[in-house]
Every structure is written in C-alpha cells, then in structure tokens.
C-alpha cells in the first residue's frame, strides 16, 4: 500500500472514529443534533466555519483556475469565502446567534411568514444539493486517481461514509471532524507552499500574478467573472444554511462573531497558498516533462512533484474537506426540509433533556430513529438519506454539476440575500410582500439571464441556452450583479408600496415577533 493510500485510509478511519465517538452527545435531542446544543466553544466554532468554507470543489477549482487564467481567477474563491465570513462576523453573527434560530429559514418565517420561509428553504435546498454533488464529484475523482476505484464507486463510498457519521452525530460529529480537517488542511497547505518555494521557487507567468489587477478591472481579462465570483461567494454565502447553522451553534453571540473572523483568516491562510503554488504548477510540470492530461492540476502536481508523505498530507486535507462540506450540506439541507418545509417544530423547552435523557450509561445513543428522539430529530435523520441519494445521482448523472452549483448559489444571492439584510437592518420597511416579490423577482431574473447568456462563470451553457445576438460571452459575470440589483430594487419599491397597507413584522432584540394592537389609531 502506498504512502498516499495510507494517508487516505488514515484520515477516513480517524474522521469516522471521531464522528461516531462524539455522536453520543446528541442524546435524542434535535437541538443537539442540528445546532450542537448551541454550545460550540470558540475553537470548535471557528474550525467548523473554516472547514465548511474550504471544500474540495473550491480547492481544486482554485488551483485549476489560477493555472489557467491567473491568480485572481482562482484566489477569488478563498477571497470570496473569507469576505463572506468576515462580513458575517461584522454584521450578522451576533444578531443572528441571539435570536435562538435553529435553521436560517427560521428567520424568514419570523420576519416574513410561512410562504417566505418555504420559498427560501426551496432555494437553499436546491443550492445545497448541488454543493453536495460537487464535493462528491471532487472526492470521486480523488478516489479514482489515488485509490484506484472507479469514479462512481468513489462517490458512493464517500457519500456512504459521510452519511453514517452525520446521521449518528449531527453537528457534533460534523464540528469535531471539521476540527481535524482544518488542522490537516492548514498543515498540508503550509507544508506544500514551503516545499514548492524551497525546492522549485515561485515562477509567476507574465500577467497572471496577484499584482496584475487587470484581472479585477479589465473585462477582457475576465474581471466580470472574477468580481462576480467574489461577490457571489462574499455576499451570497451569507445566506448559506451551513455557515449560519454554525453561527447559531456558537455558545454566545461574541463567540459567533470571533469564530467568523478566525474562520475568515483561516480560509485565506489555507486557500491562498494553494493559489500561489498553482501559479508555479505549469512551469514546474513543464520542467519535469509532465503533462496534466485533463486531470486536476493539483492532483498532477501531487503525483509528480512532491514527496509522497506531503502528497498524502495534502490529499488527506482535500478528502477531509470533501467530507466536511458534504456532511454540512447533508445536515443543513435535511434540517431545513424537515423543519422549514415539513413544518416540524420542536418546542425547545419541551425537548428531550440533554442530561442523558435518551442515552444509556455507556453513552450509546440508542434513540436513533427510535421513539426517544423528538420528531424533528427523527425526520431530519431520515431526510438525510434521500438528500444523500440526490447528491449521488447529481454527481454521477449530471455532467454540468459545476455550472449548476454556481448558478444555484447565484440564485441564493439573488433570491434570499436582500430580504435577510434588509429584514435585519431596515426592519421598519421590510414587509412580507416586499420579501416575496424580491425573492421571486431576483431568482427569475437570474434564471432568465442564465438561459440567455452562452456561458456561466466561463462554463459553456450546455443545459438550456436560447441563442440570441444581445447577450454574448463577454456579458458573463454581470448577471450576478444584475439579478441581485433587481432583487434590491423590487424589495424597496414593494416595501414603499405596502408599508402602510400591510405593515411589517417587528422582531425584538431576541428575534421574537412583537404584536402591537389598539382600538385607537394615532392622531
């Protein structure tokens, strides 16, 4: 067995061990399962945010894009994700943590009502099905290249492993395995750049380095796409159900905020070295006489240019990233479908006690799918199975997973971002009709532009393109801004039109709705 295979087996066994060991903390309580009992301390909260942002898709996409189009094309991914965590820490973590929400669509229900809750849930669930599929694809290829299985077997194995410990331990298992992933990824990333710098040196092809800001200002160098990536991730991921689930799980608003800031820093510290290494990847491979042959450039580099122990460490980090994002996607989507679409609520004051209620003295959680679990816990666990099967189906059968992923996250930005931000920071104007119109209008605008533009983030639109002379490939990137702008304009217009006739749902500091009624109107 090769060193790399030892590394892969080692990380899988360790993650499964940790995942199952901490699963006993669930104790039959859906709040423990979905938001880790709202008790994540700072190191855990920060690590799980960092691990969730660094997925296998983003890591491989980062290196491939840098090698092909320049530093900012790939670095836009970690920069966008770090921007999201930074903005979340600055503006959203504290108020959202204080509200005692269980899932992000809970906010839409409290502020805008049931219809907005279901609409937001549908938008987010679809996006996360593609996020799961994308990470299964990345993990499947990793298995194919380094383990020697077929791609399909790799997808099934990863999905099966992630599903087992996620079903067992929920966010507890996810958070503790994320701690391991963040550690391995950090060491691997630093180790890789140190090795490349000392052994090969950093060779930056002309016009592709970080100082060439034309990649962010000149449309002919892909500026629209690079900026759209940063905006879509930086703002669109603020309404990511997995990020917010971790914000809700932090043990205090202050912890939530600090965890976001540390997560943002960690995302850059781990992600940017991959971008820098990728800049030199092509010159290194050329000097070694190696061709990538259509394979992910990072995998080619690890196979041919670094020692096996370091390759094993980096691959373990990528595999762990695939695991950690997949488990978060499964858990978050299952919880949203059970709670917000299925409308299964659990009164936390009546939830199964966390002092050992359903767990026996040995710590075994014998309530799995049993009668001791509260209903939300049981249904969330059950929903994770079809969610995983959908992810496997999309990973294996839909060739355009990458394009659908970015489209889905664009729709999340266009549909759910404005109602969240204005609901929190312009509450006196945020009416339910404004939110619904904004969600529908923004999402539809993004979908219409999708079918009219020949490329989406440089992916050729092979799914549904209506040939026209108005929108060319140079328009790529702009739909992200236009759809979000339309969502904002619609929200403001409808809010002004309905603020007197419909009124707003006012939330107090703890996110609870307030009622003001009276027999006499103000003079």
């Amino acid at each position: 067995m090769s060193v790399i295979l030892y590394g892969i087996v080692g990380i899988i066994v360790t993650m499964l061990g940790i995942g199952f060991y901490v699963a006993r903390k669930v104790k039959g309580d859906s709040v423990n399962y979905i938001v880790a009992g709202r008790g994540l301390i700072l190191p855990l909260a920060a690590a799980t945010l960092m691990a969730q942002s660094l997925d296998a898709n983003a890591t491989l996409g980062n290196t491939d894009l840098v090698a092909s189009f320049g530093f900012w094309a790939g670095a836009a991914l970690p920069v966008g994700l770090a921007t999201c965590l930074f903005l979340t820490g600055l503006f959203f973590a504290k108020p959202m943590n204080r509200m005692n929400l269980t899932t992000l669509p809970d906010f839409y229900r409290r502020k805008y009502g049931r219809t907005a809750e279901v609409l937001a849930s549908l938008i987010m669930s679809v996006a996360y099905a593609f996020l799961l599929a994308g990470n299964l694809v990345a993990g499947g290829f990793l298995f194919e290249i380094f383990v020697g299985t077929s791609f399909q077997v790799g997808v099934f194995v990863i999905a099966g492993l992630v599903l087992t410990y996620t079903v067992a331990g929920g966010l507890f298992s996810v958070a503790y395995t994320d701690l391991l992933q963040a550690g391995v990824a950090l060491v691997g990333s630093i180790g890789l750049i140190v090795f490349v710098v000392t052994q090969y040196g950093i060779t930056i092809p002309e016009g592709m380095g970080p100082t060439n800001l034309g990649q962010l200002t000149d449309p002919s160098q892909g500026a629209y796409i690079n900026l759209a990536t940063i905006v879509a991730l930086g703002l669109g991921d603020i309404v990511a159900i997995d990020f917010m689930e971790r914000v809700f799980a932090a043990d205090s608003p202050e912890t939530a905020r600090k965890a976001c800031f540390i997560g943002a820093a960690g995302t850059l510290i781990i992600g940017i070295p991959f971008s820098i290494v990728a800049l030199s990847a092509n010159p290194i491979l050329v000097s070694l006489g190696v061709e990538t042959g259509g394979q992910a450039i990072l995998y080619t580099l690890l196979q041919n240019a670094v020692p096996p122990w370091l390759a094993a460490l980096v691959i373990a980090g990528i595999l762990a990233a695939s695991f950690s994002t997949s488990d978060g996607a499964i858990l978050g989507t299952s919880a949203v479908i059970a709670r917000n679409i299925g409308n299964i609520r659990v009164d936390e004051s009546e939830a199964v006690a966390t002092d050992g209620g359903a767990a026996d003295d040995t710590g075994n959680d014998d309530s799995l799918l049993g009668t001791d679990s509260d209903k939300l816990l049981t249904v969330t666990r059950l929903m994770s199975i079809p969610i995983t099967l959908l992810g496997i189906f999309l990973a294996i059968r839909v060739s355009a997973t990458g394009m659908l992923l970015v489209l889905a996250f664009d729709i999340m930005l266009a549909g759910a971002f404005v109602p969240l931000v204005l609901g929190l920071y312009w509450p006196e104007m945020s009416t339910t009709p404004a939110a619904l119109a904004s969600m529908v209008g923004g999402s539809l605008t993004r979908l219409v532009l999708f079918v009219l533009v020949p490329t989406t983030y440089a992916y050729e639109n092979t799914l549904l393109y209506i040939n026209n002379d108005i929108f060319t490939a140079s328009f790529d990137g702009l739909p992200t801004f236009i759809a979000a702008g339309v969502s904002l304009v619609i929200f403001v217009a409808v809010a002004y039109a309905t603020k007197d006739s419909y009124g707003v749902r006012t939330l107090d500091r703890d996110g609870r709705r307030t009622i003001v009624a009276g027999g006499e109107d103000d003079e």
Partner: protein, 163 residues
C-alpha cells in the same frame, strides 16, 4: 353573551389530532366555554385592553378554538394599546390572536395599527367599550390585505354578535 357559565383563565377543550385538508379558512368557531373565558378576561382588565391567543384545530373551512391563552398586556398605555411578544406562551399554529377594543371611540374591526402591526395569520377583535363584549369580528391576513371571517359559536353555526 356566551351560553356557558365557565369562567376560567386558561380554558381548554380537548380534541383529538386528526389530519385535515387545508382548505382556506372562512369561519372561526369559538365554543361557549372559550367565549366565556375570553369575556371574563376582558371584563377583569377593563378599561385596559386585554388580549391573548386561541389555540385552534382545523375542521374543513373552520378553525375551532380549543384553548384560551390569555397574555399580559405589556403596553405602557394599556387603555389604548395591547402589546406583547410572540414567545413560548403562544400556542403553535393554527392559532388566533385576539384583543379587545375598550374605548367607545374605537371601531369594532381592525384599526390601522392593528392591520400593520399584528404579525399573525388570524386575528379576532372583541369590541367591549364598557367591559362587556358587544361584538366579535374575525380576520385573516391575506397577501395584501385582511379578509373578514365569520365568527360562530360551536356546532349551532350561530354567528356571534357583530357590529
């Protein structure tokens, strides 16, 4: 006003949980014991406005109140306003928020402040200018405006007084 002599603060009428088709609600049924409990609450607090929730079950196009949950008025001007927070005291949906209008100058239906600031699907206004209920009017929040519902007393389908 109500037939029953029941005067309890937290009046509960048990009913089995059954699965029903979610037809649009047209009628709110307030059985006599619940009705009496509401009136007792309003009379006790007059001239301050009183309010709370009715825990309900669906019966076709009807919402039938099964439990009365009075809520304390948190307003600084309780004779003109009823204010509260929707927290653990509120029963789960379907539920009806009710409050009283206690001034003779009040309207028997929703005021503008009611329309804007009751973030609930169903609302019941009890017009009780002298402490005794003269009118019951029910409303459902639509997408753009409130629609009036019929308020009935139990199985007799008799409409409660409406001004």
């Amino acid at each position: 006003m109500c037939d029953s002599l029941t005067k309890r603060k937290d009046c509960h009428i048990g009913s089995p949980k059954i699965i029903v088709v979610p037809w649009p609600i047209r009628v709110i049924v307030v059985p006599p014991p619940i009705c009496a409990s509401i009136e007792s609450h309003i009379t006790t607090h007059h001239p301050e406005e009183a309010g709370g929730f009715l825990d309900c079950v669906r019966r076709g196009r009807r919402l039938r109140a099964t439990r009365h949950v009075p809520i304390v008025n948190d307003s600084a001007t309780p004779e003109r306003r009823f204010e509260t927070t929707v927290d653990g005291r509120a029963p789960p949906p379907p539920r009806v928020f009710y409050h009283s209008h206690t001034s003779p100058r009040s309207v028997s239906g929703l005021t503008q402040i009611d329309e804007r600031s009751i973030p609930e699907t169903f609302a019941l206004v009890v017009f009780a200018p002298h402490g005794n209920a003269l009118s019951y009017r029910g409303f459902k929040r639509g997408l753009l405006n409130w629609q009036e519902l019929r308020i009935e007393a139990d199985q007799t389908a008799k409409q409660l007084p409406r001004l």
